[in-house]
Amino acid sequence: MPETIAKKRPEFRNIHITQILGYRLPLAGVMSILHRVSGAVMFLLLPLIVWLLDKSLTSELSYAELLGFVDSVPAKLLLCAIAWAFIHHFWGGIRHLVNDVHIGISREASPKMASIFMVLSLLTSLLAFLAIFGVI
């Protein structure tokens, strides 16, 4: 027997919702759960997205009305949420496709790949947020 008894480490099997904050998810896992979250956001906001398309296409008047609707901070934050969900899911999807051809699935490569896609997702989201708020 070794002299020091190994400190008992937390053990997770099927993790319960109450354990989520204490669970150190690897970055690839973070990308993965955010992929699901962003997909769910787009699913739930789908009628809103169709409504935006409807308003933007029906007439010059409805287009102008739409610009009026989205000219408030809460509306712009909602657009940011849609933009983030779309952009994150886009990059997350590309990551899955890249993994499908067996690139970046080793123990060493997986967190690197995940961080590259996380950075791409955050940077392009930032670009979209700036465009929504009219900064660029």
């Binding site: 699901r36 997909g39 769910a40 787009m42 699913f43 789908l46 009628p47 169709v50 398309l53 409807d54 933007s56 296409l57 029906t58 007439s59 010059e60 287009y63 102008a64 779309f86 886009f90 999807g93 590309i94 899955h96 496709l97 499908d100």
Partner: protein, 121 residues
Amino acid sequence: MAGRNIGQKRLVVGAHYGLRDWLSQRVTAIVLASYSLVLLFAALSASEPGYYGWAGLFAQTWVKVFTLVAFLAFIYHAWVGVRDIWMDYVKPLAIRLALQVFTILWLLGSFVWAVEVVWRV
């Protein structure tokens, strides 16, 4: 075996939709990613800014067709993804079934609305 494989003794194996879902999720994803990039590029290079450039884009038949094909890809892709969410987190069968029916109606309703929106430009 054949005669006994019914009712509660039925052996439920080999549904074979693991590969089908995996593949359809990739195919629809590629359609959606392509559509997104094409639409983004087309919108950024529209003939004029504002309503007329945007509506002029959707007045073209290929944009309408590509939009609605991408929407069909979206509803199938979203069905596979959202169904998996319900299967992972919602165990009571009645609630899960209700959520799955809601998911189908939500997606089909949005699709029909989108057809109406896109086809009258």
